[in-house]
Structure formats: C-alpha cells, structure tokens
C-alpha cells in the first residue's frame, strides 16, 4: 500500500497525521478556560448562596438567565455555526412553552388533548413534556426550514420571521388556550424523585439542561456533521464541489437548533407558571439575536455571556429606568463596533478555527 509507506515515511521524518496539532498552551488558551469556568462557576454558585440566604428571587433570576442562555445556545447553532440568520426562533421557544402549558392544562383538568385519530392525554411529567416539546419544535423547524432554506440572506431572515409571526397570531387568536391572555400553569409540572417546585432544584435542572445543550453543540461541531456545517457556512460551493449537498446539512442543524430552543421554552413556561403569545413574538426573536451577538457569534460560551449581560441589564437597569433598552443599544453598538467577536471574544481572546 503506497498509502501506508508514505505515511510511515512521513512519520519517521517526525511529522504525524494522527491528529491536529494541539493548540499551544499559551496565555490565550488559559485565559479562555479561566473566563469560561468563572462564568459557569458564578452562575452555579450565586443561586446556591442566594437560596441559603433566603433570596428566592435571585435563584429564579439565575434560572431565567440559564433558560434564556439555553434558548440562545439553540439559536447560536443556527446563526453562529450554520450561518443561518433565523429571525423566527421565538416560534420554537413559544411552542415549547405552549407544550408545557397545554399539557399541564389538560393534566389539571383531566381532559384529553385530542381524541381523534388517537387519544392523547395531558401530562404533568416534565420528562414527557420536554420530549414532546423537542419533538414538536423539531417537526415545526423541519417544515419551516425546508421552505426557508431554499432562500438565503435577507430573504431567509424575512421568511423565518413571517412563519414565526403566523404562529404568534394563531396563538393570539385561539381562545381555547387563553388567546392573547395566555395560559397559566397552576402547579409546576413534576419530575419523578426530585421536587421541581423547589427553586434551587429547578435552577439545577435548568443548569443541567444548559450544560447538556452546550456539550452537545460542542461535540456536534467537532464531528463530521459539524465539519460539513462549518463548510456550508464558510463556502457552500466548496462543500457541494467536495460532494456534500449543503441543504440537508443545514436543515438538520436548523432542526437541532430549534429543538434546543424549544426545550428552553418549556423550561421557561414552568419557571414562570405562565405561557403567553409574548413568548412567540418577534421581540423575543430579536432579543435572542441580540444575546447571541452580544456574547459572540459562533462561540460556545457566547450565548451564556450574552444572556447574563442581557438579563442583568434588563433586571437592574430596567429597575432604575424604563428606558434601559437605550443602554442595551449602546452596549450592542459598542460590541458590534469594537468587539466583533462579542463579549466572549473580548474577554477570552479570539477562537482558533480548527
């Protein structure tokens, strides 16, 4: 095998093809790890401290940050890694929320969600709800993506927005589940063994979800699928010329992205005990985009950094002035102009593209 001889020759010359050379453990590398661990550590530690000093409000605030971060992790997979600028991710966040809400509503009333062609009862089991939320969001994204991904650029942005708005108005005008008034979840949906109604427990559930979403994204982007998706973003002509059609790769990434955001939506509804069309509105799609851009597009920890910054500003600045979004705008302007790689790029240095 000429293949093998050439390889062993090159190995004996001291080069190797085993793997990409490990990035040099330079200052940047350590800094990045440090920033990421600090971010995660604080997010985990502060709610624990708050809980044991009786400040439940701050525990719930941390849950809110965690859930929004998770929704942004989903969007980041589409925008940052896949180059698909979706302006309609509120559709999946809201659908996830409504799955939790509607399921709880029927479980509470002991009425079936539907009876034909087969009977589907409500459920207050979070595992069932999460699975259903992810499946339904994935299916919705499959349909929306299949059509939207035939367009690119500004048309893609507009068509994803249009689909999300259709769902928003549908929810708004469907009286069975509260219409524009929304739908309350009277009792938080439950998990076996652990007590989900406890604030800290619920935070830890959300935190685990966020870590899983980030771990899956990371692993995914290192795989063959991730390699193809990266190439689809950077140069789809190259990908096609190499023998891989970009369209199905993008579509699958879009579906996974929506499922993650949908799961976050289900968690959000249970956190608030309430779901309303606001979760589906284009404002929220915009906020998620702002969070991804603030944190750093295509950075693994970007959505988390962005969500921390966004929710903090909303909570603390918003408590001082109702014009807090003016300051958000200024920060966004600063990031876009001076820190192109977002807060994470600014704090942790540029990312190697390998």
């Amino acid at each position: 095998m000429t293949n093998n001889t050439s390889l062993s020759n090159s190995a004996s010359r001291g080069t190797t093809v085993d793997a990409a050379p490990a990035p040099k453990a330079d200052r940047h590398f350590d800094r990045k790890g440090l920033v990421q661990m600090t971010l995660l550590g604080l997010l985990l530690l502060l709610p624990v401290v708050a809980y044991f000093s009786g400040q439940i409000y701050y525990v719930n605030l941390a849950s809110r940050i965690t859930i929004i971060a998770m929704a942004a992790v989903g969007l980041n997979l589409a925008i940052g890694y896949g180059g698909m600028v979706s302006f309609g991710h509120a559709a999946y966040f809201g659908l996830g929320g409504y799955v939790a809400g509607i399921s709880a509503y029927h479980a509470f009333d002991l009425t079936p969600f539907m009876t034909w062609p087969f009977s589907v009862p409500g459920s207050d089991n979070l595992l069932v709800i999460w699975l259903a939320a992810m499946l339904l969001c994935g299916l919705l994204a499959l349909a929306i993506g299949a059509i939207s991904l035939r367009t690119t650029g500004v048309y893609f942005i507009m068509i994803t927005l249009a689909f999300a708005q259709m769902i928003y108005y549908f929810a708004n005008s469907w009286p069975t589940y509260g219409g524009e008034d929304g739908l309350p979840i009277y009792i938080r949906n439950t998990l076996p063994v652990v007590d989900s109604s406890d604030a800290l427990t619920y935070f830890l559930i959300c935190f685990t979800g966020l870590i899983l979403a980030m771990a899956i994204t990371s692993r995914l982007m290192k795989s063959r699928f991730g390699a193809a998706l990266t190439m689809a973003r950077l140069n789809d002509v190259r990908l096609a010329t190499a023998g891989i059609s970009p369209y199905p790769i993008r579509l699958v990434a879009f579906v996974i992205s929506a499922a993650i955001t949908g799961l976050a939506g289900a968690l959000y509804a249970d956190l608030n005990g309430f779901v309303s069309p606001t979760m589906l509105s284009w404002h929220f799609s915009g906020e998620l985009m702002v969070i991804v851009i603030l944190g750093g597009v295509g950075r693994l920890y970007g959505p988390l950094a962005g969500a921390v910054l966004f929710v903090m500003m909303e909570t603390f600045l918003g408590g001082v002035t109702q014009y807090w979004q003016l300051f958000l705008g200024l920060v966004l302007l600063g990031v876009v102009l001076f820190a192109k790689h977002g807060v994470m790029g600014w704090l942790a240095g540029r990312e190697r593209n390998e």
Binding site: V17, R219, R224, F225, R238, G243, N353, E354
Partner: protein, 250 residues
Amino acid sequence: MSDIVLSLQNLNKRFGALQATGDVSLDLKPGEIHALIGPNGAGKSTLIGQIAGNIRPDEGRVFLADTEITGMSIAQRARLGLGRSFQVSSLAEPLSVMRNVMMGVQALQSHSFRFWKPVARDRHLLEPAYTALERMQLSHRAWTPVFELSHGERRQVEVACALALKPRALLLDEPMAGLGPEGSAKLTELLETLKLEVPILLIEHDMEAVFRLADRISVLVSGSVIAHGDSQAIRQDPRVREAYLGDSDA
C-alpha cells in the same frame, strides 16, 4: 465508449439571443490532458458550468464514464468522481488546508450525518487527505490556515481537494491564472505526472502551458468548437490564428 471518461454530447445553451454554447461535443480519454482554449467571451465558463452542474444545458447530454450526469446536482457529480478546481480560488480560508481537503474524503466515505466522533482524530479522514496533499507536494502545509498560503499554494490545495474525491476526471479551470512563471512551471510539472492517473480537462489562458501539457486541444469561439487536434495542428490552424489575431486586433 467504455474507455472515454467524460463526454459531452451536442450541448446547447442559450441566454436570450446569445448562443453561449453551440452544439459542443468533446470527450476525455484516460491518461490525457485535453485543453479547452478560446478568447474571452467564447463561452468557456458556461461550458464548464454545464459539466460541473451549476448550469443546465438546454439540449445535449453529459456522461461521466457510462453514467449520464446531465441532470445531477454538483454534489452528486462530485461523488461519482468529477473533481474540479475554480478560476477564482474557492477554499474556506479560515480553515486549515487539511480541513478543506478532508471534505472530499468525508463525502466519499458515507453520509455526513455522523454527530459524535471528532474528525480531528479520525484516521479514515486524515490519511486519505494527507495522501492527496502529498500528491500535490503540500503535506508540510497540512495544518496551515488557507489564508496564510501563497496564491500558488492555494491552487495546489484546490487540486488536492479534487484529488481527495478519487476522481475519474478532473476539470481544472485556469489553474495557472495569477501564478508567476515559477509557480506556473511547478504546477505544469505536477499536472504532467497527474494526468497518468486522472485525465484532465484543462481550461487555460497560458498558451505556453497548454502547448506543453495538452495531448489534444479544442478551440472554442463564440460558443462552438472551431478546431480540434494536437498542439501542432492547432498552432497551424488558420481559423485559430484568425480567432486569436482578430481578438488581439480589436
């Protein structure tokens, strides 16, 4: 028929009133370089587009070996063994050379819906890509990001990307464009040995390279092949001289 690797049969393409491709038939045999030359605006790019799959011909058929590929997508053609390089380099610049070349290997092995195993330690991807790079004498640059490469090296990477597909035929669109005399000579040398493994359809402006490399030459003017033969015959063909001299007069 069976020893012809690539054949175009009566291709026609019109854009409105413009006949961009007029009844073009050509073929590519194993072990040869078939050069396609023609003055600017002769319809070379349109013709390549029809072979590679980004332009659909109005009439006519394209075969890769015995398989008709006329209606296939770019990716399908690539998987069947049609490798191509572009006139303007089309690599993913932030990525390493290896990551660019690996894409073709990945496409050949199976579908890309593999979500778990990291590519950075996947021998089945790395080794064939490395071999393709060695073939183009670029293995020492394997982990260099493309944006750090010279123009000539990028040309070599493009060919290596095509080789990663284990192609049955190569379609090289002006590979010498923008290369200095040194780079041009090096690439010429590489292509000369490469053609024994993979026949090449070469679209090229550099006449010196064409006359040195090509076993056969077809001359495209106004969308049609006006002359066809070896370099000796083409040099002496009065119609070719007229097309080129007329072009330089204008």
